[in-house]
Structures are given as structure tokens and as C-alpha cells.
């Protein structure tokens, strides 16, 4: 018998009320209940960063959170970054610098990079690499991702 719980939170600027199993993880809720599939399952244990979201501004691996932990929080996913002009510039930088290949890690990378941009607007390449350490990419070798984030940082300067 699964226990259900009603939760209320802000998702990408919109208030949401959802009933979820208490054991459901936040990633599954976003993908399967809410239907936002930009946040990816890569490992389910917080090692790859493909499921990175922002929770009250900080970045989190959504696969490691329970859905009920969203209660009362302000959640932003890759889809929510569409409304953020700074993130627009970031996405454009990813495209312009060739930071996208298969693209599976990209949403998590962009969300993580948006946090770097907010917290370290003048970040240099080394700081950016540290900031992206928890996000795995198998295609690009990271260089063009770092270049993209660096250009967005400098662009905001």
C-alpha cells in the first residue's frame, strides 16, 4: 500500500499542486507525472548530473530528491530557463561554441551553467570546470562546454 501526499510548489514560475506517492523521486515526478522530459535520467544515483534542476536557486540532482521534498519550494527546470534572458544567452553560447553533440547531458549542463553564471558571473575556465565537475559528458570532452559557459560569463561582464 503506497501512501500518497499532496504537495504544492512553484515549477518554472507556475504554482503546481500534485498528489504523489511518498516514495516517488523528484525526477520521475517531473518526467512521468508533470510531463517535462527535458530533465534526464542518466544514472539515478547522483553521479552524472543529467537530471540537474534548480531548487530555490541552488542546483540539485533531482534523482536524489523525493518528490515530496518539492513542497513549498521554487523549482526551475531546463524548460523554465526559457523565460530567463541570461539563460537564453547561455543556450545560444552552447549552440555557437559547438557544446552540443548527442545532447543528452546538455539540459543538465545548461542548468548547472546557469547557476555558475548567477553565482560567479566573472568565472574563469578553471572555476567553470569545477562548477561542471558533477555533470558527465561522453561526447564533447567538455572543452566546448567550458568555452560556451566562459563566453556567456564574459558576455555578461
Amino acid at each position: 500500500m503506497l501512501l500518497k501526499h499532496d504537495i504544492e510548489f512553484t515549477l518554472n514560475g507556475v504554482r503546481k499542486r500534485v498528489t504523489v506517492d511518498i516514495t516517488m523521486n523528484a525526477l520521475d515526478m517531473l518526467r512521468d507525472v508533470v510531463g517535462l522530459t527535458g530533465t534526464k535520467y542518466g544514472c539515478g544515483e547522483g553521479e552524472c548530473g543529467a537530471c540537474t534542476i534548480r531548487v530555490d536557486g541552488e542546483t540539485r540532482n533531482s534523482c536524489l530528491m523525493f518528490a515530496v521534498d518539492f513542497n513549498g519550494r521554487d523549482i526551475v527546470t531546463i524548460e523554465g530557463l526559457a523565460a530567463d534572458p541570461k539563460a537564453d544567452a547561455l543556450r545560444e553560447a552552447f549552440v555557437e561554441h559547438g557544446a552540443v553533440q548527442c545532447g543528452f547531458c546538455t539540459p543538465g549542463m545548461v542548468v548547472q551553467a546557469s547557476h555558475i553564471l548567477d553565482t560567479h558571473p566573472d568565472a574563469d575556465a578553471e572555476t567553470i570546470k569545477r562548477g561542471l565537475e558533477g555533470n558527465l559528458c561522453r561526447c564533447t570532452g567538455y572543452k566546448k562546454i567550458v568555452d560556451a559557459v566562459e563566453s556567456a560569463c564574459c558576455g555578461g561582464r
Binding site: 552524472c48 565537475e133 561522453r138 570532452g141
Partner: protein, 802 residues
Amino acid sequence: MNVAEKPVIAPESLIGQRIQKKDAPEKAAGKTRYIQDMVVPGMLHAKILRSSRVHAKIKSIDTSAAKALPGVHVVLTAADVPNQQPIGVARDHLPLKGERVRSLRDEIAAVAADSDEIAEAALKLIRVEYEDLPIIAGPEDAIKPGAPLIHPAPLDADGQPKSLPPKTPVAFAGKADNIAMRFDYTHGDIAQAEAESDVVVEDTFQLHYVTHCCMGVSGVIAEFDASGNLLMYSNTQVPFLHKREFAEYLNIDPSRVRIIQPPIGGGFGSKLDIYPFEVICIFLARAAKRPVKMVFTREEEFLASPTRQPVLLTLRSGCRKDGTLTFRQVHTLHDNGAYTSWGATTPFVMMQTFSSLYRVPACDYHTTVVYTNNPYAGSFRGYGNLQATFAIEQHMDMLAERIGMDPLDFRMKNAQDAGEVTGQGMTFKSCGFKECLTTAAERSDYRRKHADNIANRNARGPVKRGIGIASMLHVGGGAKIYPSDGCGTILKLDDFANVTLITGASEIGQGSETVLSQLVCEELGLPISAVTVVNNDTAITPWDVGVHASRTTFIAGNSAIGAARKAKAKILAAAARKHGCDEAELDLRGGFVVVAETGEPLVELARLMRNLHFSDKAELVMTTFYYEPPSVHQDKAFKGDVSAAYAWAAQVVEVEVDTDTGIVKMTKVTGTHDVGRVLNRLGLEGQIEGGVVMGQGYALTENLIVDNGVTRNPNFRDYKLVTAPEIPEMDITFVESMDGEGPQGAKGVGEAPSICIAAAAANAIYNATGVRIFGLPFTPEAVYRALRGATPKPHWQAWKPA
């Protein structure tokens, strides 16, 4: 626009530009729908029960409790699918195993249910009774006299070999030994060449398990329509080959199988074979009469997707005092795992490197591929070339040192040139190898650093610097393995002069959509934005052999150019008729038909297209082209010019070795690649950088630990991919050898950048420390031990069956 006011249009080229990837905006916005994201109305969710024993007979399977669980639609075992066909490269296993399991990944039962959670719960209710069998944990055990057989002949109840019906799985056919495949190649007189050698070295090299780690895990959706036609959403890299194979397994006409490829979250060779999960998902969909989706967990991906081929390799090499190579003799033992996938066939590529990377008068190559109870290896970017290059390029340094020659000079003396026909019959029509060597060496200041590092080996402080070089040869113009190595294109222009490019070539993230669009636009004088690519549906796209062997830019590129040139000829002929001039005087530029010599615009292309279409003699511009490269199949002795072009590279790796901790830091990679010609500079750099870092992982951090048949580290915490802070500085340059057959002169490059890194790292560690390490990976523990002489040197007595 009034044509009269339009200024002249000068020729412009897209070739060599930095072209943004067409699918990047969608991907960066999180809008791209991968197979994991797809929902088909009415679909069920499937899970597979895998063996809990490494090697065992299955005594019984009880699925009754699982079948009784609410929400479970179908539970299947081998007994429920009596007409299973054998699958895989050697057709040596069934999707569902009924009598015997030979590895921990073996599929015993499968469930389709209303949700993943219910399917998981059902798996836990299935009871399997086993009788354990002796485990063959490594390839050396597999060839011991009297070793237990992994695939013995099946016996009747009275102990007699069963009489087997036709089309019986090879796995059941019974084998007298554990040998899965053999490869024997030779050219020249080895004995005489060895007798003429002044120096001979022999060493054993040990190459480990690594795996692809595509960020998107494996997945498939299968559904049948009311008439029994199969639709699959699949991540395959070879849709047309698989369409045919799936039809064979289902005993239906191939025209009734349609494969759609959603965007793929990484390939790297992992999706070249048909795996049991795909066939099982089809079985479930057939039984449930509902669409069925199956997606792996990450742990499952580590346990049940292919690995790179582990290899034990003994190499004997010789040269003369003047630095001329004399011979190479190679014996390898390939650990096939329990079944045969593409990893077993990596000798096709390995022997090319041994026979033809350098001019070597005599080469003798032998591989024995043996069954064990380990995971089975598939194709993985480089296809055996990382393993071969690891051995060869260390021996190049070792031979050079023995004769007192600079390692770069030694390579230059033996390097191939354009025009060379090798002992294996490969013909190097374009070859920038020597320029790669000199460029990479000069840009990295290789000679000076190499000498300085040796001089500084005994300097104070634990951190030693090293520099190492390695080179590679790889197919760059397709590889003629199948009856055709071709690709088809259908191209159409609409009445706004937008192009739809329908190609057989698959996009797996490598950027084929973009580079193919670029090649078409170069012919038709249009911007990249004018092209829509359709490339993922076997019901629409023309045939292609698949995305592998670094072939897509070359083969699909030539095919796209062929279709575009036919369209251009048709357009110019129509414009010439209309304007009363000679079509040879016309060209396409900037969306206009122009007078070639002056650049004077004659008519807007979109307007011409509408005139053609909406006229009394209505006409559309639609063309087709099939490109088959001018390569040949190898003969039975593995000789023949199997690729239309060959790619070359030299990479210099710089390391810092902390002798106190064994930590090797890769500080810089200087790579020079003969790519024929740079097409999309942005995409090319991305491919090379990604390949270099994948090579770095192979060399330093990645190690799938398989211990007595058990994979010990099926997760990203213990299987270490390289992360952003660890990447080296990368200095990547290109040699443009302008291959005569290549699209705009280009050659394939997809696999090339990973190939040299581990070999160059080995040479760099030696340069830093004076210690040579013959096994991978160079983890801190391994290096620490090796520096203290605590690592036994791998040794394998070269062996081949009588």
C-alpha cells in the same frame, strides 16, 4: 526582390567554416525527445530478469506468482517462445535462455506490465532454480586442455547428442573447444626478416574492459499494427541491417518491419549489434498485443551492454640498426565473453595497424577468440585499434631506444607515404602521415621536452614530467564488410527553394545532419537553414549500411553531393532554357541562378522553382543518388583495399607523474589529424576533443572490473569517467591531404582521435620515469606499484591452436 537591383553575387564557400549544429538549439533547450522521453498511447513497460549465476544449468523457472501480480500483462520465458532464432554476430545465442546461463547478463524471463514498478516487482516473484557449472573466468583458462566447454553439445535424456533441427542456434550446435573465431594473416617472410634484424623485442600487453557509457541508456519500443506489421523505435546505428534481421527472427517479410530512430543519446559503436533486450521487447509486444517500452537502468547498462574488446597481446618486433623496421609477429587472445558480438571481429582492424601503419616487410598476425563466462564485447569507437596501437607504438619507442635513434626520426623513417600499397593490399591514395608527425612534434616541442625529461628523471621532487608520441592509421573512406558499403539520398526542392535531404545516414550526435546539409548547400548555393534533413525512418529513407567505421561524412557525404549535383544540373538546364543561354555559363549562388563569370543574378531560385512547377509542363526538382565507394572486399587471406581512403594522425601526450602517489595527470594533448579536408571546423574540433578525452579515460581512469564473471563496479561512482576539471589542454590541428575520392576532399575522422592516447600516455610515463607499463589502465594504484617494481609484467606465451 528586383533582380536588376541585386548586386553581383561573388562565389562563397561553406567548406572549412564553423557551422552550428542543426539540432543543437532543440537539445540545448531540453526539447529533444529521446527514446526515454517517448510515450506511445497504451504502451506497457518491460523489464528483464537476468541470471544470478555466472555459469549454470537452469533446472526450473516458476513464473506463476509473477503472472498473478495485478498489472502484469505478460511474463515470458524461453518455454513461451518455442521458435526463437539465434541472434548476434555468430548467431550463437537465443534472446531468452532456457537451459543454460553462461554469464550474469543472460536473459531468463521478461515482464510487460502497467508500470516499471510493477514489472520490477514481478521480476522479484520469479523463482529460478540453478545447478552451478564451473566458471571460466579468463581467456587463458578457456584454452587449457580439458577446460569446461561454454557451448557443449546438448544431450538427450539418454546422454546421446541431440539430433538438432535445421536453423538450430550455433550455441546449441556444440563445440569441441571454447574457440569462437580465428584470424590468421601474413605477408612477407617472417623468419628471414627476423634473421636480418639487428634488434628484436618481445612483450605482452594487457588491455582491459571498458564500456561505452552513453549518457542515454539503452531503450526500445516495439508495437505491432492490426495486420501484424512491426514498428520499432530504436537507437540502432544500423537500421537497415536490423530491419532485415528482426524480420528473420520473427519469420516475417522484412517489408513488414519499420524502424524509426528517435534522437540517440550516444552511440560510439554500442548499437551495431542486435541485443537480446530488443528481440525480447518484440516478443512481449507480440504477446501483449500492446506497444511495449523497455529502458535500461544505469546499472543494467553497465551489466548488459557491450564492452570494448579485452585483449592479451604478445608482440615481437624487429628493426635494423639504421632504423628500418623488419618484421612484426603478433599473437592475441581475445576474451569473447559468453557470446559473440562485434568485439570478436576487431582483428579486421587490428591487423591493418600491424601490417600497414608503418612500412613493414613481414607481418604475421594471429588471433584466437575464446568463449568465457564474462560479459561479451562489442564494437567500440576504434574497433580494436586502441589495443593494437597501444602495443605497436610502445614498441616503436622501445626499438628506437635500443638502436639509439630519436623516436620521432624512427617513425618518420618508417612512415607511409601517398602511393604506397601495403602488404595487406591497402592503397594510400592520400596520406598526410609524415606531416602529422612533424606538425604534432613541432607544435608540442616534442624533441626538446623528450630529451629534457630524461635528463630530469632524477631531479628532486616527486612529480616527473613526460612526453610521448603515438600515431594511427584508420579507415577513412568506409569499410567494405557487407555486400554494399553504400548510402542512398533522396533530395527535393520545394517551390520556395528549400531542400529536403532524405538520407540513409543516421545522426547519433556526431553532426551528420549538419555536415550533409553543408555539402548540399555548397552545391546549390543555399544557406544551411534552407535544408531539412530526414534521416530516421526506414519507411522513408533510402538504404544505408549504418553509422560505423567513421564512414558517414565520406559515404553519405558523397551520396548527398551526388544528389545535389543532379538537382543542380536540372535547375541550370531549366534556367538556361528559360533565359536562352548555355547552362555551362550559369551557377547557383546566394539563392539565385547567376551568370558564373560575372556573378550577375539571373533569377531567384525560388521563383525559378515555382515557374518550373506551376507551368504547362509541370516539373519538380527531385533527385536520387546511391554512392558505393570504390573499395573492395578482403579476400580470404584478409588482403584487399577495404576502404576508399585512410585517415592518419599523430598525437603527443604530456603527463605529470606523481611518483609518491602514482597519480598521472594528463596536462596536454597535441594532435594533428589528416582529415583530407576540413568541412565543418566546429564539428570536427568537437569530434576530436571528445575522442581525445575518451582516450584519456581509456588510458587513465576507466576500468570495468570483471572478477570471476562478476562486474564489480556497475555505476559511475566506481567506474570513473573523466570529468571537466581533469581534461588536458588540447592543441588540435589538421592536415588537408585533399583526398581525391572524398566529399570535397574529406576523409572520415569519427574514431581516429581516441586511438593514440593510451599508447602516447604509456610512452610519456616512460619518458617521465623510465618505467614502462604494459597493461592498462594507468590508475594511481597501478602506476604506484609499477614504479616500485611490484607489478608483474604481463606474460602470455604466444599460442595458436594446432
